[in-house]
């Protein structure tokens, strides 16, 4: 545990305070420069955009995942449904994202069908947009939201069934039961789902490269670039550390907020 979790993190931390080697790698002396370079509007903007994109993708994952998890919990074959949710993991994420390229591009399936049906006259620009990036993230991480949501909904519907029935008996409409009973009771699952989606979305670089056409840069892309074309490992390490700290701070704030609400 210590070896697999702490050691790599400590190495990243140490790298972030060293100087860059001319051709990659790190060298002495120790320097604060990597962090100083980072606190400029340019990188602050990229961090903000990454948090916004990850936040939107998380919200959509939870909004879509909740009804899906509810449907699975109430279906007669929940195990089969869960297996279907997990099924895409049998194929590499990279290949599934390439499949989206074939669906979204100008001569792709969606545009071809819409053109044939004369719904549109010109192909819609679907690929290489911010929308495509969010779509790719939601597609990729939806299962991570569905699984904890299913677990909590299934438990609430079993254990707190009487509460839901009581609310209905006392005259609450089904909408009111959903929003004022079911959703608050499922809050721990919603928080877990948000966490499980938000954190990997924050570090992603593959989706913005492939579906965004590298036109928008997320913090994951900047970090990746430091370890490849720019060969600036210490700066890449500093960016990673700031990302980890920022994500941890947000999670902590989220937990505090959640605790106060409860």
């Amino acid at each position: 545990m210590v070896l697999t979790l702490a050691a790599p993190l400590l190495i990243v931390c140490a790298y972030s305070m060293l100087s860059r080697g001319a051709y990659g790698g790190v060298e002495l002396p120790v320097t604060p420069e990597n962090y100083a370079r980072l606190f400029t509007p340019l990188y602050a903007g990229i961090f903000l955009r990454s948090f916004a994109v990850a936040g939107i993708a998380t919200a959509l994952c939870v909004a879509l995942g909740f009804p899906l998890a509810l449907f699975i919990a109430r279906s007669r074959r929940p195990n089969l449904c869960l297996a279907l949710v997990i099924l895409p993991f049998w194929t590499s994420f990279l290949i599934r994202i390439y499949a989206w390229i074939f669906l979204l591009r100008d001569t792709g399936l969606i545009n071809t069908v819409l053109l044939r049906l004369h719904v549109i006259g010109e192909p819609l620009p679907l690929l290489y947009t911010n929308g495509a990036v969010v779509l790719g993230l939601v597609y990729g991480f939806l299962p991570f939201a569905v699984l904890p949501l299913y677990a909590v909904i299934e438990r609430v519907e079993r254990q707190d069934k009487v509460l839901l029935e009581a609310a209905a008996d006392l005259g609450a409409s089904s909408t009111a039961v959903f929003w004022r009973m079911l959703v608050p009771l499922c809050m721990p699952g919603i928080r877990a789902a948000s966490l499980l989606v938000f954190v990997p979305c924050l570090g992603t670089y593959l989706v913005s490269d492939l579906l965004g056409g590298s036109k928008t840069v997320l913090i994951g892309n900047v970090i990746q670039n430091q370890f490849t074309a720019s060969r600036d490992w210490p700066f890449g390490a500093a960016l990673s550390i700031v990302l980890i700290v920022a994500a941890a701070a947000m999670l902590y704030a989220g937990r505090r907020g959640g605790a106060e609400l409860a």
Partner: protein
């Protein structure tokens, strides 16, 4: 991961136990024919561990440790100098490479290693514009990719040196400029062009141009040759009149290698005209081997995309390694461009 490295360790151990020497070759992907390695193994009675990389940084990160286990690697022209400075390369013994006389005379004195002491050119290419023949007027220079009528129909490479390089040449500066004001002016050009671009794509541009989604793309000769073969008659390729980048991938032996003689035999084997020709036939890359070119069918040999005439190549520049200060500025400008 643990389990995987354990299995890998086991495999390495098992291979070490088998009789006979083993050569470790680390190359770019798609750079040999399917039969190249097995034929070498049969002829020399050795085993070859052959693996590929997608980016040179990946390769450099491994060999920098000095005990990566590789014998032969394939650095591009701008990596030979840095690798030499890092003390990673072994000197070549020309008397062990009799087929060196097959090398194209144009590659016998490359600027990055004029006496071929450390590396021998293997494959080469250039950066130009791949476009639909339906495009009018046909592009001739980088500036043509700033045409507002092409809005949403162009791509540039997802590579800082190439995008900035094209902008520098558009302004009449050197691709390898380290001058901050020239670099900033070039990045302003890139920023002005960005709204017109569909995306920044490398090899993926090939499918998009073949499918017709993209009208013009900044592309490497290798990608262009593959695209033109996939859509015969529809596509064309031009090396811009305002100047362009050339690259050459070279074969070199690592200083850490303990099978230097066998490594030389591998290099000599790659230089045999028949072997080099079979590689070109399988990969559609441009070889630096003159003997191989004579064995190729005329239509491959005279392919102006892969083997541009000398007067066109006179406009080319080799990409050079950048000093740290210039590299930092280039990275910053690239990040600015991407986040704009």
């Amino acid at each position: 991961m643990k389990r995987r490295s354990f299995l890998l360790g086991g495999a390495v151990f098992a291979a070490a136990c088998t009789r006979g020497p083993r050569l470790n070759v680390y190359n770019w992907s798609d750079y040999v024919a399917p039969g190249t390695v097995p034929a070498f193994e049969r002829e020399f009675g050795v085993k070859v561990r052959y693996s590929t990389f997608e980016s040179e940084e990946e390769m450099l990160a491994q060999v920098m440790s000095g005990n990566s286990g590789w014998d032969v690697v394939f650095p591009a022209e701008d990596f030979v100098g840095p690798m030499l400075k890092l003390g990673l390369l072994a000197p070549l013994r020309h008397d062990w490479i009799p087929h060196l006389d097959q090398l194209d005379p144009a590659f016998r004195m490359p600027p990055w290693d004029p006496e071929l002491r450390w590396s021998i050119p293997y494959m080469h290419g250039a950066t130009g514009i791949l476009y639909q023949k339906s495009m009018t007027p046909a592009p001739t220079r980088w500036a043509d990719l700033w045409d507002p009528r092409l809005h949403g129909k162009i791509t540039m490479l997802d590579d800082p040196a190439e995008v900035l390089g094209a902008c520098l040449r558009k302004l009449g500066f050197s691709l390898n400029s380290g001058d901050p004001s020239q670099l900033r002016a070039a990045n302003a050009e890139a920023l002005a062009q960005k709204p017109l671009l569909r995306a920044y794509l490398n090899a993926e541009a090939r499918d998009q141009v073949v499918a017709g989604d993209i009208v013009a793309a900044q592309a490497w000769t290798t990608t262009a040759a593959q695209a033109m073969a996939a859509a015969p008659g529809h596509l064309a390729f031009v090396l811009p009149a305002d100047g362009f980048a050339r690259f050459a991938d070279n074969v070199a032996i690592l200083r850490e290698s303990r099978r230097v003689e066998l490594a030389h035999q591998w290099i000599d084997y790659l230089l045999r005209p028949a072997v080099a020709a079979s590689i070109v036939a399988a990969t559609r890359t441009a070889t630096a081997n003159a003997g191989a070119q004579r064995l190729l069918p005329a239509q491959v040999r005279d392919d102006a995309v892969l083997y541009p005439p000398a007067d066109v190549l006179a406009r080319a520049e080799w990409l050079e390694p950048q000093p740290v200060a210039s590299q930092k500025l280039r990275d910053r400008l690239w990040t600015e461009l991407k986040s704009a």
